[in-house]
Symmetry: C2
Subunit: 387 residues, 2 copies
């Protein structure tokens, strides 16, 4: 094989000149573009950039599409990133790798890439995909790192599915116990990649993200992996309520276990392809633990219980999260709509109770009071296997 030209252009970051004209060369190495540049997106860039520079299968250069902002200094964010190799706004103090090139032009950023990493706030995905239609390579593969898909009454609306449907490309997901700032300083962590069929593609994603401190495992279960990332936030609300009532580790562990069971049962009722084993992966039990030990959902729920339910979640969110959003409460509401639409409330006492507490219909202590009503799965036809 002919040697492949190194595409790294150094700090000056001129635009890619190849322009897709030399298809053969482009095919030889995979080109990665990251769509998004927040806290987690920047950490993903760091992980990826350290691999593309080492592994011959990938072009060294990693494009990162950045929603352009003007910093208080007057400088553009992309210019600051490309000059300092740091995302000075969303991940200050961490070098991303000199082969990460911030690009404010979405279409330009994706043009030559055949590996697209989606890591934006979930409400922007649809708009971004609209802009990308017809602008991406025919052989592109995608992966979504976006937690927080919506659950609509007719069922969950997976972000991986949205990307696949809008762009006509395969989309894996990467989820797990991934606190961005801890991974940024190279603390040991794990993640799970969910894929649909092509095991060669998933191995490529695993290689792209894996480092000695970031261990990535593939699981053939996109829906299971992606649902874990959303549903755990509802359980974190329950765990926070237990903390706020000082009920101790025993009760908290019981609530987390019941929550994991409901995550599993709900996911399996929504998608029969979901596997039990997925919930033993980083995206399942580990992400649940991380989220219920720290995390903003837990924090706000704890404060809610300490106030005796007198202050609203909205008020506490504004006070405690400095503009960050609380996902657990809205996910609980969405899940509740699915459950009540199908008459399944009694099968999911924890999910249902979290919603009813969050809207003030039940007091915080109700979180441990549904327990005498054990879910009866014979109500759901053919559901014995789910429980």
């Amino acid at each position: 094989m002919a040697p492949v030209q190194d595409a790294r252009h150094g700090e000056g970051s001129p635009p890619i000149t190849n322009n897709g004209s030399n298809e053969e060369q482009l095919h030889k190495k995979y080109r990665v573009t990251i769509i998004g540049s927040g806290n987690w997106g920047s950490v993903a860039a760091k992980l990826i950039a350290c691999n593309t520079i080492k592994l011959p299968a990938f072009h060294d250069e990693v494009r990162m599409w950045v929603y352009e902002e003007t910093l208080p200094t007057g400088q553009k964010l992309t210019e600051a990133i490309n000059r300092s190799n740091e995302n000075v706004k969303y991940l200050p103090g961490i070098k991303l790798g000199k082969n990460v090139i911030a690009d404010p032009d979405l279409e330009h950023a994706v043009r030559d890439a055949n590996m697209l990493v989606f890591v934006t706030p979930h409400q922007f995905v649809e708009g971004i995909c609209k802009r990308l239609v017809g602008k991406i390579r025919g052989d592109a593969e995608a992966i979504s790192l976006i937690k927080g898909m919506e659950v609509k009454m007719e069922g969950p609306c997976m972000i991986s599915t949205l990307i696949t449907e809008m762009l006509g490309i395969n989309c894996c997901v990467l989820m797990g116990a991934n606190i961005a700032n801890e991974i940024a300083v190279e603390k040991f962590s794990e993640a799970t990649v969910g894929y649909r069929e092509n095991s060669e593609v998933v191995q490529r994603w695993v290689r792209l993200f894996s480092t000695h401190y970031f261990i990535v495992s593939p699981v053939q279960d996109v829906e299971g992996v992606e649902l874990c990332g959303t549903l755990k936030n509802v359980v974190a609300i329950a765990a926070g309520l237990v903390d706020g009532m000082d009920m101790g580790n025993n009760t908290k562990a019981a609530i987390m276990r019941i929550g994991l069971r409901e995550m599993r049962t709900f996911s399996k009722l929504m998608f029969s392809s979901v596997k039990d084993s997925t919930f033993f992966e980083s995206c399942g039990v580990a992400d649940l633990i991380t989220t219920c030990l720290g995390g903003r959902n837990r924090k706000v729920a704890e404060a809610y219980a300490r106030s005796g339910g007198k202050r609203s979640f909205d008020e506490l969110e504004a006070e405690l999260l400095q503009g960050q959003k609380l996902q657990g409460v809205s996910t609980a509401k969405e899940v509740y709509e699915v459950l009540s639409h199908r008459g399944w409330e009694e099968l999911f006492p924890l999910f249902t109770t979290v919603h009813e507490i969050s809207i003030g219909r039940l007091p915080p202590c109700a979180i441990v009071e549904y327990s005498e009503h054990k879910p009866n799965f014979s109500l759901v036809e053919g559901s014995a296997q789910y429980y």
Copy 2:
């Protein structure tokens, strides 16, 4: 049916006069004896006594065999319990129920019982069973609440099996996230009963222990349930090391997940009957969480890591636990002997590393450093299913 005489004798606690002479009467109601009266045994007595007095299937009276001690006041422990209805030494401040009768005579205590609850320190079980041979009813059933079975080189030595083999009776197990003092004050908790075959018997045990704050679920997997109760202590050592190095919630969650995976794999390699689903029960993931958040194994391991491995586990145990014993280190050693005997060390990097750290062969930071060597289960014939 003829009315059955209430066997409750009130506070004076005269010996049972029935003497087994009226077999028919005895058969009508189940009689419970608790063998052991420590912290957890006393809480078990409270749970059981509140049920036997309510449920017509059980004799009200619950005998509790107490290893007799003389209190500093000069009073006998059994007398103090029967007078005050409290185990003044091991669970002060908690009323056990007036139908709990402390009995210092082991043979007398079990004579009329057909439900035997074993809840002693594990090193005493063998001696107690020897004394019970030929002294128990032919229709007796047993349940073991004893955590801390030994793992011998040829495999785990289950306490339930020991009881069954020595006494010729069926033995279930009850395990779970059960911090005795939290359950004593009626904080919400869960437990798992493992049983072998007879679902009628297990339902009786479930009814005997269940209260509105203590939710008990049956699982047909004695070995899986019992192994969880022991192996989690090894994982708690690992979690404590992570705490002692201030590695954050993300790393801790990853280590707990890997630990749960090794618990599952080890159990399934030891007993092919062990079920994956058992690890989603209270005895599995919930007990693991409780033990890794609080618990003495975690605590001593944290101190060990903070000392940089300079102080020994023995020294820290003596200093921090006031005479209580650390089980995780000895269990790690026992598990390591099984692994090295079979050449399985690489399949269980966490278990192996915990042992090597605890004997000073590796530094505390090694707990996150085996990660690049992913276990290769193809080494164990037919083991793909285990992983």
